[in-house]
């Protein structure tokens, strides 16, 4: 169902199911984005909860000229930034091994060495992204995991599109060297 229709249903009829469907559409992308910003399960879950609560409270004030997804990501980004500020930029990195149920490769029963190799690559990638500066990391996460266009990212972060593109370029360069170092070890 269309976002604006779901919003109308929630705001005028108080339809909780419509609100759950609306937020549920972007839940996974938002979770992945916040995860890339925080790299900590508990903080990530808290930020998600807070983001959705704030979004539901602010939904009656939402104006349709903005894309709902961008609007939601803006709230999520602010929440993630406030968590980062609270923790004084102490980012605790959780390794993917702590969440083995997440790996779909296990279901397909490939060779153990292959699984290990995939997991190492994933871990290296995750770590490389977590090492990016905050401003570059948020652009990469919003573009790759949130699948937001650069124009909307520029609106969310409140910077000109040229700055966002420059951050993406810098992140690409940094990731390339970080991954070369990680995988070349």
């Amino acid at each position: 169902m269309d976002d604006s229709l779901l919003i109308r249903k929630f705001c005028s009829d108080g339809d909780g199911e419509a609100a759950a469907e609306l937020l549920g559409k972007y839940e996974r992308a938002l979770y992945q984005f916040i995860w890339q910003m925080l790299h900590h399960s508990q903080d990530c879950e808290d930020a998600m909860q807070e983001t959705f609560s704030k979004a539901l409270c602010a939904l009656p004030r939402y104006r349709e000229e903005n894309h709902f997804k961008s609007w939601l990501f803006r709230i999520g980004r602010n929440e993630a930034i406030s968590v980062i500020r609270r923790r004084r930029r102490t980012v605790i990195v959780e390794s993917p091994e702590e969440r083995p149920e997440a790996d779909p490769l296990i279901d397909s029963q490939p060779a153990v060495s292959e699984v290990m190799e995939q997991r190492e690559r994933l871990q290296a990638l995750d770590q490389a992204i977590s090492q990016l500066p905050e401003k570059e990391r948020e652009v990469v996460a919003m573009r790759t995991q949130g699948e937001l266009p650069f124009k909307e990212i520029a609106e969310i972060v409140g910077a000109p599109i040229g700055t966002v593109l420059a951050r993406m370029h810098a992140a690409k360069k940094r990731l390339k060297s970080l991954l070369n170092t990680e995988l070349g070890r």
Partner: protein, 171 residues
Amino acid sequence: MMNQKTRDEILLYWSGEADAAQEARVQVLLKSDPEARVYFDELCQFDVLRERLASSPSMPSSGSFAEHAVCEMLAERSGWRGIGPWVSVAAVVIVILAAANRMWPSNEERKETVVREGTQEEGLVLPRAMERPRLSQRLFVRERHTARLPKILIARERARKLRIRLEKFPQ
């Protein structure tokens, strides 16, 4: 060496946000410039990156955040709805009590008026402290405002003054 403008155009082209003119320029560039092609290929690695990261992190098994947030909000709303009527009843009662309190004069006010009238009738000038009833009377007297009350109070006050005069009398 690519300049920043070209790089930005390639980024927009890769993102699917380039306009028609930018798109045409980038397509020509990708055919002619190996450096631009390498840059574009590297950007395509981000698509691979997205696919790889699609499974990481997993959503927590505790359930949907969206559903949880909606349930919480609805519970909060219904809670307020339950309390709402009681709050309005309490507000109405408070308003009625406040209005009654304003209309109904206090015992102290009544006594002061009576004493003042009594002394004025007699043409006596009493010190300010003596015009007021005793503290015990002010605190504990709870009589209703009846027609007989002023007379009783005047009589009581006269008795009090007489007692004072007698006390001053030499033994």
